[in-house]
């Protein structure tokens, strides 16, 4: 009897750390979940999902997410962890990082503090929270995947219909975060501390495999501050603003952009006509136009629109991104 008892005690002893680990993981997850948001917007056709993931970053309802076609809707619905469905307003976006900040009208919300975000190293265990495949609805918590950081690497992603502008370091993870709807989710360490924003579905251009990655919060934090301060906001013009009689066009500059297939096709340069003003200003294929004069132009459409406000006689200043470089060029039509 005594021997039996000792045996039992040994088993208990042996299993204690395990049980502890489980409990702490469950606790961590339960503290992260209330900060997660499920977003519903545009999509739902041709295999494009109408949902994605996001998380709260202020107690007055600011939400950080990935900038995508899902946000290109008249009404974006944010479903909070407790099941509340609220309409989210676009605060602003940063096309270079492909992030957007939304806001819902609510108070005292559990949230991540971006200032407290941590950085991770390869080998560290992570948890990925997201609304993958849209399986979580209403007050259901988002899905959790576990994994480790496989590598901290430069994003070498394939350019395709869903190309990315971001070219900095990312956390590559071995959890399958690359799923429809997962973009905008949160990557935390095993203690639930925020480390990254789950990126969009992308292929690794070197190995042709799907890439599971998150953008480190450190790379985004300043942009979020700028967006919240109103510095990065898509040009919203006064309806009554006057347009000049003769304005600039892309064709006159000799620029052709990537065709405008999606409502928010990023304005990548597809080709530059030889000897044109653009060629003389050294604009190149694959450059991304970020600003026309002082106005942020996150899409093909907006570049075209913005140019209609500039008189032909005036020069145009473009801010472009080439790889990781930011360049400014001035274009003028020759007399």
């Amino acid at each position: 009897m005594i021997r039996y008892f000792t045996f039992l005690a040994l088993i208990l002893l042996g299993f204690t750390p395990n049980a502890q680990a489980q409990q702490s993981l469950a606790k961590v997850i339960s503290t992260v979940q209330p900060r997660m948001v499920k977003l519903y917007g545009a999509g739902g056709v041709q295999g494009l999902e109408a949902y994605q993931s996001a998380f709260l970053i202020s107690n007055e309802g600011h939400i950080l997410t990935a900038w995508s076609y899902v946000l290109d809707a008249d009404v974006i619905t944010a479903t909070l962890d407790d099941g509340r469905k609220l309409t989210a307003e676009m605060v602003g976006m940063d096309p270079r990082l492909e992030i957007a900040v939304l806001k819902v009208d609510a108070q005292d919300l559990p949230h991540f503090n971006l200032d407290e975000a941590i950085t991770l190293e390869a080998g560290q265990r992570v948890l990925a929270f997201s609304n993958l495949y849209g399986v979580a609805t209403g007050n259901e918590p988002t899905s959790v995947l576990r994994g480790i950081v496989s590598a901290k690497a430069d994003l070498a992603a394939r350019r395709g219909a869903f190309e990315t502008n971001y070219r900095g370091k990312v956390y590559v993870v071995d959890a399958m975060t690359n799923n429809p709807g997962a973009a905008g989710g949160a990557l935390t360490d095993s203690k639930g501390r925020l480390a990254g924003l789950i990126g969009k579905e992308l292929r690794n251009s070197q190995t042709n495999t799907w890439l599971n990655f998150a953008i480190p919060i450190g790379e985004l934090a300043q942009a979020v501050v700028d967006i919240r301060a109103g510095k990065l906001r898509a040009a919203s013009r006064n309806e009554t603003a006057k347009k000049p009689k003769e304005s600039h066009t892309l064709a006159q500059f000799g620029i052709r952009l990537v065709p405008d297939f999606l409502p928010k096709t990023p304005p990548f340069v597809e080709s530059v006509k030889p000897m044109s003003p653009a060629a003389k200003a050294d604009i190149r294929t694959d450059d991304l136009i970020l600003f026309v004069n002082e106005h942020l132009v996150p899409s093909h459409k907006q570049v075209v629109e913005e140019l209609t406000f500039v008189d032909r006689v005036d020069p145009v200043r473009l801010t472009i991104q080439r790889g990781q470089e930011l360049l400014e060029v001035q274009l003028t039509l020759e007399p």
Binding site: V144, I148, S150, A153
Partner: protein, 658 residues
């Protein structure tokens, strides 16, 4: 849809994550992280980044990775092992980043064709570190595994953690892990929590096929494979000497059926094969290999899986001698290539249906051994080599177990008269006889229930494809029907046209025409061969099928599909007919099989763009001893007319010859 989408790994509140090696500290996760990173770091100096320059962009239909890949140093003299996957594009230049950070050019020394690995050699003065291998006996399913790669960055490792899922996978050639395995770590090591190497990561295919690219579509799915390093080390000296390794072949055919049930009974041993040289014979039952007991065929496959050509194996068999079961020991040296097996020929076409004893002779091939012995159409063969004759399939198999040129005693009935004779089995005859007498004798009783005839629609659960079957009006359940699996051009098939084309030929030759259609109206997909098999099985469940006369047939794209289907399902198809089509681009020439016979019918016009490819295929197949029938479609390209169809059906009608 890729595998990765089917396997979203939800909510991992993982039980049993905690590893005893981490110790019972306050935060087990931190301990785990430290252990994982430490394990990867321990092997880091042996993991090299390999860059390839130049070569093909596309192999078959697959875009091959052009990015860097990973290798594992296995010898201090500059030998590095990696996955063949990364070299399938035949790069013009291979560069390895050594532990010192300098780059060195590498050459491929040898390949392991069984496990899809390559051995590289770099020339360097650097003394290279080598890893510690985990013995197979110490591997535990459920233990930590960390997959390590070096593709993102030359200075940094990439890692993925998981557990050891299984030890004896792909016929014992590999171990399995749920750590994520993809081109980002193929060629890299799978290490245990102490940083010792369990195996080298490679995209092996559980189905066995696919060559260097096989299994790559499983990437990141939670099903990953690694070749045990101890297995690689055992054969490293061979690879280092520049010799490629090939799967070891012995040359036996086992009794067909369920490999998980049947004992390893040999039904045929081609002459000149390692098995024949060792002294094995048809009828022997293998009971052990290298001291490892074998009860079922699957165990035999596991035992042979890791063996290479050139290796010697000890076999114990049970042989029936004079009504006594004797245990006999043999030793065979495995080979990489078997001399093609040639089916011996008796010289008759059998009658079909009817329940009398023996096999009725429908037709005797002129000049054949049967004709020389004096056998006539109308005779009944009742015994061969003193054994009663059962049915056509068993008789075909019995003759397959005999050697070309060997003598065979035959007993037959002519009317009531019993005759005896002896013949010498000759070379197989692929001629298509003209004007054959009917294969069905006498009056058959009226069947109790009339089966559906005419155009029948076959709908299989969970399959998108449509499928039709043309069942002849004179179908009788006692008359086994041949099956022509006609693979029409993609797009919907016109029932009336089908009926018009095949109805009378089907009735005349006792053939059901099965018409599976591609799911995509624009193209056939290679994976649809699985559906075709299912459709054929469904047909056999409802009609009496003659398994010795089942052939796939298609023109152009359908012809390629017919090749592929017959090659993938050798147990079901006895013939493949192709008109103006060609074999799939990457298909290896098949091997003749004593049990699963395959006849080939190739049709092309002289000016056809396919002519050259088909001629080459015909030459190759003949060299491999397949019975090949070539049918000319004249000068200019045209589709099959009524005469061609009749020729095709006569060929099918003669497939049950022996």
């Amino acid at each position: 849809m890729t595998v990765r989408q089917l396997l979203p790994l939800f909510a991992g509140l993982l039980l049993g994550w905690f590893s005893a090696t981490a110790g019972a500290q306050d935060d087990p996760f931190e301990q785990e992280e430290k252990a994982i990173t430490a394990a990867a770091q321990k092997v880091a100096s042996c993991v090299v980044r390999i860059e390839t320059v130049g070569g093909l962009e596309k192999v078959g239909k697959v875009f091959v990775a052009s990015g860097p890949t990973t290798g594992l140093i296995v010898d201090a003299d500059g030998y590095i092992i990696s996955s063949a996957y990364s070299f399938v594009q035949k790069p013009t230049s291979i560069l390895v980043t050594l532990p010192s950070g300098s780059r060195a050019a590498a050459t491929i020394v040898a390949r392991d064709h069984a496990r899809m690995l390559v051995l590289l050699k770099v020339t360097t003065n650097e003394k290279l570190p080598t890893p510690t291998a985990v013995p197979r006996s110490e591997m535990l399913v459920g233990q930590w595994t960390i997959a390590v790669g070096r593709t993102f960055d030359a200075t940094q490792l990439s890692m993925s953690a998981g557990i050891l899922s299984a030890k004896e996978r792909i016929w014992s050639k590999a171990i399995q892990t749920d750590a994520k395995i993809s081109p980002t770590n193929y060629g890299g090591p799978l290490v245990d929590i102490q940083g010792r190497v369990l195996g080298v990561l490679a995209p092996l295919s559980p189905q066995g096929g696919g060559g260097e690219l096989g299994g790559a579509e499983w990437y990141d799915s939670g099903i990953g494979f690694a070749v045990p390093l101890v297995d690689i080390q055992r054969h490293l000296s061979t690879l280092k000497s520049g010799k490629d390794l090939y799967p070891g072949l012995i040359g036996i055919s086992l009794k067909p059926g369920d490999i998980y049930v049947l004992p390893a009974e040999i039904v045929a041993v081609p002459p000149n094969s390692p098995a024949a040289k060792a002294g094995l014979k048809a009828g022997d039952v293998i009971t052990s290999i290298d001291g490892q007991p074998i009860v079922r065929q699957a165990q035999l496959k596991h035992a042979f899986g890791p063996k290479y050509a050139g290796e010697k194996v000890k076999l114990t068999v049970t042989r029936k001698i004079d009504n006594d079961h004797k245990q006999l020991d043999f030793e065979a040296e495995l080979t990489d290539e078997l001399i093609p097996y040639e089916h011996p020929f008796f010289g008759v076409l059998p009658m079909r249906g009817g329940g009398a004893k023996g096999i009725g002779v429908r037709y005797v091939f002129p000049g054949s051994p049967a004709a020389e012995m004096g056998l006539n159409a109308g005779d009944r063969i009742v015994a061969l080599a003193g054994l009663d004759v059962e049915n056509v399939a068993a008789t075909q198999q019995f003759i397959s177990s005999r050697e070309l040129g060997s003598k065979l005693e035959v007993k037959w009935l002519r009317g009531d008269e019993e005759k005896n004779g002896e013949l010498k089995l000759a070379k197989f005859n692929a001629d298509v006889p003209q004007d054959l007498p009917s294969a069905v004798s006498g009056d058959l009783p009226q069947p109790a229930e009339k089966a559906a005839t005419g155009i029948v629609e076959i709908k299989l659960p969970e399959e998108k494809n449509n499928c039709l079957a043309l069942v002849p009006e004179n179908y009788h359940p006692q008359v086994p029907q041949g099956v022509l699996v006609y693979l029409p051009p993609p797009g919907p098939s016109d029932k009336e046209k089908l009926s018009l084309r095949f109805k009378s030929l089907a009735e005349k030759n006792q053939v059901i025409v099965l018409v599976p259609q591609s799911a995509d109206p624009k193209k056939w997909d290679p994976t649809e061969s699985g559906f075709i098999r299912k459709a054929l099985e469904d047909l056999s469940a409802h009609y009496t099928i003659d398994p010795t006369r089942v052939a796939s047939f298609g023109a152009e794209a359908g012809g390629t599909m017919a090749f592929l289907t017959a090659a993938e399902h050798r147990d079901k198809f006895r013939g493949v007919a192709v008109a103006e089509g060609s074999p799939p681009a990457r298909m290896k020439a098949p091997e003749t099989d004593p049990v699963n016979r395959l006849a080939v019918f190739l049709a092309a016009a002289a000016k056809s763009p396919h002519k050259g490819v088909l001629d080459a295929a015909a030459a190759k197949l003949k060299e491999s001893k397949f019975p090949v029938t070539e049918h000319s479609l004249g000068d200019a390209v045209r589709s099959f007319d009524a005469n061609d169809d009749a020729q095709l059906f006569r060929w099918l009608d003669g497939l049950d010859r022996f």
